[in-house]
């Protein structure tokens, strides 16, 4: 029934957008009339910040096409970035303040035992196609996310204490989420679970086609969201155009409905350098994920644009050795070397020999921070301040190696070579991603650091996909240099990395049982903090995890780059955050100071 009413309804709305204000007044008022102003039944969320002027078209480059617009299956950063501008969640983490704030749910209540969350939805919410949102959509959404056959990428996070979350509807606006165990993250859990339109997706879901739905080439009328922008046009290989969602549920301080921009255009520009050139020439208005070297090029000649350094982000780069349990026949050479890698003193010696300050200075040109643990200085709330930030010391490294039974032999050419107890020289290769110049540079610095200990390391830049395959599938490698970026400040976002059963537990992924006592200890602590409410208790547990990691060095943490971004001077409310999507987290508030300067094609 509802569906039948929908199409003429939407026609009228589209028409109303195209016509001038005068003609709008002649249209019948049905609960919402002028999209720019809120109607009485609507509870818009007023956000603080500079009040802007509507209009304009913001052009941004993306380094690849989004693989999907489906929040269920989106796993890559590019897809998430685009979806972030098109969808909304119940409770949202404000990327600026790093705290939770009401989103689709205007309020929430947690029961004293921490097992029951009651969320109240905002009044008068509508999807971007004008269809009303109610509690049934939320019920549907979580049913889908929890359905194993859908393979939602983050499903694991909705399993608390081994049992999936139970969602109940109280009335049209109220929902209750029931947990089997108290959940440490509390309402932060709801961030990122985009609410899906039941009226569009229920049928495909029952037919089992939900996974393939919503690619960039989906016709705009088969798509609906709750974010500030909605799908308008997609040109394969070129661009994705979004237009403003006239039903968006946020307003500025003066009550004007957001977003300000008429259009948001994502251009697909595959190389980072080409993105810089496009931004420099004024073809794009905003640039994020800028490398330190390109940032300094842009900052040196900034006139029409402003470059901003948001400080150390949540990306941590690290070196790790192959600690997998390998079968005898497949990799005898790696197994021989694993005798060194498994020795904690060897890993500590490597860590002691690495000049982290030089990495920050040479790779990030000073725009970064050295790391001794997984939690970056950008996340001060969770970082363990007591972890020793030991400066580089070759003497300490040599003592550790001596204790571990290594010795040095003089080669004929006068170079001293580190040899193990069987008098075999210590040689290994370090994999890096060929497309990431920063990490290859780090590896080259480490190569030179280790040479001074008499170790011979080879840097092998490899295409990223084959690198991941080697690390997670074939396990044919000695050591590897990689980086990971946490999606949230909360330790739970890295659960998959620290749990020994996790797929991103890179040095030895997806273990059926923890291989070492300290990995078992980390598993226990991580699971304990998951079920402990209250920040200070959880912090204590997570500090212990960080200490175990720093002591055992399964990953030798190196450095964390600053989040660097830039925007044209005419763009206001540009406040890049250290969390994804960096400069786009407040995309609904971005506006052109000089009005609709950029409305041309």
């Amino acid at each position: 029934m509802r569906k039948d009413r929908l199409s003429p309804w939407r026609c009228r709305i589209t028409l109303s957008l195209l016509l001038a204000c005068a003609s709008l007044l002649t249209l019948p008022v049905r609960g919402f009339a002028h999209p720019q102003q809120a109607s009485a039944q609507e509870e818009l969320l007023a956000v603080p910040g500079e009040t802007g002027r509507p209009g304009g078209r913001l052009v941004i480059s993306l380094r690849a096409e989004p693989k999907t617009l489906n929040p269920l299956t989106a796993a890559d950063a590019i897809s998430r970035e685009v979806i972030g501008a098109m969808q909304a969640d119940l409770v949202h983490i404000n990327r600026g303040t790093q705290l939770t704030e009401p989103a689709l749910a205007k309020s929430w209540k947690i029961s004293p035992d921490g097992l029951q969350y009651t969320l109240t939805l905002r009044q008068g919410l509508r999807f971007s196609d004008g269809h009303r949102l109610d509690a049934d959509d939320v019920l549907f959404t979580f049913r889908v996310y929890l359905d194993e056959s859908v393979h939602a990428t983050q499903r694991d996070l909705l399993i608390v204490g081994g049992k999936p979350i139970v969602v109940r509807k109280v009335d049209g606006q109220t929902l209750v989420f029931q947990f089997a165990k108290p959940y440490g993250v509390e309402e932060r859990l709801f961030d990122g679970w985009d609410i899906l339109p039941r009226h569009l997706l229920e049928k495909p879901y029952q037919e089992g086609k939900l996974g393939q739905l919503w690619t960039p080439s989906t016709p705009p009328n088969e798509w609906a969201g709750l974010g500030p922008f909605r799908l308008k046009e997609y040109v394969a290989g070129q661009k994705l155009v979004l237009e403003r969602n006239p039903y968006y549920w946020k307003s500025d301080a003066k009550g004007n409905r957001l977003p300000y921009l008429d259009e948001l255009v994502f251009l697909f520009v595959p190389s980072a350098d080409a993105q810089v050139l496009r931004f420099q020439s004024g073809e794009t208005d905003l640039i994020t994920r800028v490398g330190a070297e390109n940032f300094s090029v842009l900052a040196r000649q900034q006139t029409a644009y402003t470059m901003a350094d948001a400080g150390p982000g949540l990306e941590y780069n690290f070196l790790f050795f192959n600690l997998n349990d390998l079968s005898e026949k497949s990799s005898a050479d790696v197994m021989r070397k694993q005798k060194w890698f498994r020795d904690v003193k060897f890993r500590q010696a490597v860590s002691a020999a690495i000049d982290r300050e030089a990495i920050v200075r040479l790779v990030y040109l000073g725009r970064g921070a050295a790391l001794w643990g997984p939690v970056t200085p950008g996340n001060g709330r969770w970082a363990d301040a007591s972890i020793a930030r030991l400066p580089r010391s070759l003497d300490r490294a040599r003592t550790l190696l001596k204790d571990a039974g290594f010795s040095w032999s003089m080669a004929s050419n006068g170079e001293s070579t580190l040899v193990d107890s069987d008098h075999k020289p210590v040689e290994f290769s370090i994999l890096t991603s060929a497309s990431n110049a920063d990490r290859t540079k780090m590896a080259t610095l480490i190569q030179d650091d280790l040479k001074q200990l008499g170790m011979r390391a080879q840097v092998v830049p490899l295409e990223f996909r084959s690198l991941v395959e080697r690390v997670t599938q074939t396990k044919e490698y000695d050591a590897c240099l990689l980086g990971l970026a946490s999606l949230d400040f909360d330790p739970n976002s890295d659960l998959n990395v620290w749990l020994s059963s996790g797929g991103t537990h890179l040095w030895n992924p997806s273990q059926p049982h923890p291989a070492t006592a300290w990995e078992a200890e980390i598993d226990r602590l991580m699971e304990q903090q998951l079920a402990t409410p209250g920040y200070s208790q959880r912090k204590k547990l997570y500090d212990r995890v960080q200490e175990i990691l720093a002591e055992n060095q399964p990953m030798i943490f190196l450095a964390s780059p600053d989040i660097l971004a830039g925007a044209k001077n005419s763009i206001a409310n540009f406040h890049p955050a250290v969390l994804e999507p960096y400069a786009l987290w407040n995309v609904e508030q971005l506006y052109f100071r000089n009005g609709t300067e950029n409305t041309r094609r």
Binding site: A272, D273, V276, L277, G291, E293, N294, S296, V297, D355, A358, R361, L362, L365, G366, R367, N413, G414, S429, L431, A434, A437, K441, T444, L445, Q447, D448, Q458, V459, V460, P461, L462, R470, E476, Y477
Partner: protein, 351 residues
């Protein structure tokens, strides 16, 4: 006489250039892999004879560069301390021509490092890296040309001399090799090889790859010469006296191809140096921290380096005198053989 002089001139010029590269250890002030992490992307230093006060010094000197306040990449001369330049000083260990251990360097400075051609991303001396990189690139070019000429001569001789189906088969294979997109083949080849190859293996791989790919053109040229020579009277006469195939090829036919082979070699060496540079530029050459002209230029793939540090282009200039020398030599050779042919033996001129 004039032509002979031209040939000698180019030859001596090339020998001198190669001596500089072969003796890189002496001419380079530092070890090419040594990092100076306080000084990345240092611009070339200026050598002065006049100090900031306007006084003239007999011994040339330079001012160390320091970072400008509040910057990570802008340098200025520290005119407070003049560092004198010394010639024939002792410095880093090296092996002259790969054999003789020595510590003697053409020039050097005490107290501060001198970067005549600037430094790279890791603070390594660009001049030393260009000189040592030349060893890899030139040797790869020369060895690659050697392999090619050998293959080309043998195949060309066989095809031209025996003719018939052997000729057809070899020449079709040669055409196939000319038509192959060899760069992509090399990528494919690299993908099959073990993950980390040592510097020596990588170098040999490059040489073999270049050598195997380039034999077709000299082979076709040699075949052409053999086809004409084998019909000449002195060859027929020798055959009539019962000379064996091997004897004929060795004594009568091969010497006739010398002009073509030598000229081809002089043209191929710079081409193969360029091929090595292409492979290294794309990351298929010798691994870090070794340098070659190709991987020195590889940093230019980054836009920030391209627009910020002009001295990173210098390795590209290093090849210019070598290319000039080889091409000059090739044309001198060609002219010399042509006039030799015309004046000494009538009736046959170069195809």
């Amino acid at each position: 006489m004039k032509l002979r002089g031209k040939f000698t001139k180019w030859f001596v010029f090339l020998v001198l250039l190669h001596c500089v590269v072969a003796g890189a250890g002496f001419f380079a002030p530092y070890n090419p892999a040594e990092q100076d992490r306080q000084r990345p992307y240092l611009p070339p230093m200026r050598i002065h004879c006049m100090d900031a006060q306007g006084d003239l010094h007999l011994r040339p000197f330079f001012y160390p560069l320091r970072l400008r306040e509040g910057s990570f990449e802008q340098f200025e001369e520290d005119t407070g301390t003049a560092v004198p330049l010394y010639f024939f000083t002792r410095g880093a260990d090296y092996h002259l021509f790969g054999i003789v251990p020595s510590r003697l360097h053409l020039f050097g400075a005490a107290g501060a490092r001198i970067y005549v051609l600037g430094s790279d991303a890791y603070g390594r001396d660009q001049l030393s890296r260009i000189l040592f990189g030349g060893q890899v690139s030139l040797l790869a070019g020369l060895l690659g040309a050697g392999v090619t000429m050998l293959l080309g001569a043998v195949i060309g001789l066989a095809a031209g001399y025996y003719g018939g189906w052997r000729d057809d088969l070899l020449m079709r294979v040669a055409e196939l090799f000319l038509a192959l997109p060899w760069l992509y083949l090399l990528f494919a080849l690299r993908a099959f090889l073990p993950l980390s190859v040592g510097p020596l293996e990588a170098f040999l791989l490059v040489v073999v790859a270049i050598g195997l790919v380039g034999w077709a053109r000299p082979a076709r040229l040699v075949r052409g010469v053999v086809l004409t020579v084998k019909e000449r009277d002195f060859v027929r006469a020798a055959r009539g006296f019962g000379a064996s195939d091997i004897y004929l090829l060795r004594r009568h036919i091969l010497p006739e191809t010398a002009s073509v082979l030598l000229t081809q070699a002089a043209i191929l060496v710079p081409q193969f140096v360029l091929a090595e540079m292409t492979l290294s530029f794309l990351g298929l050459g010798v691994p870090e921290p070794m340098s070659s002209w190709g991987n020195l230029l590889a940093t230019l793939q980054q836009y920030s380096v391209l627009v910020s540090y002009w001295w990173m282009y210098l390795p590209a200039l290093a090849i210019v005198p070598f290319f000039l020398g080889y091409l000059g030599l090739a044309s001198a050779l060609q002219e010399r053989f042509d006039t030799y042919k015309i004046s000494e033996k009538s009736g046959w001129s170069r195809t």
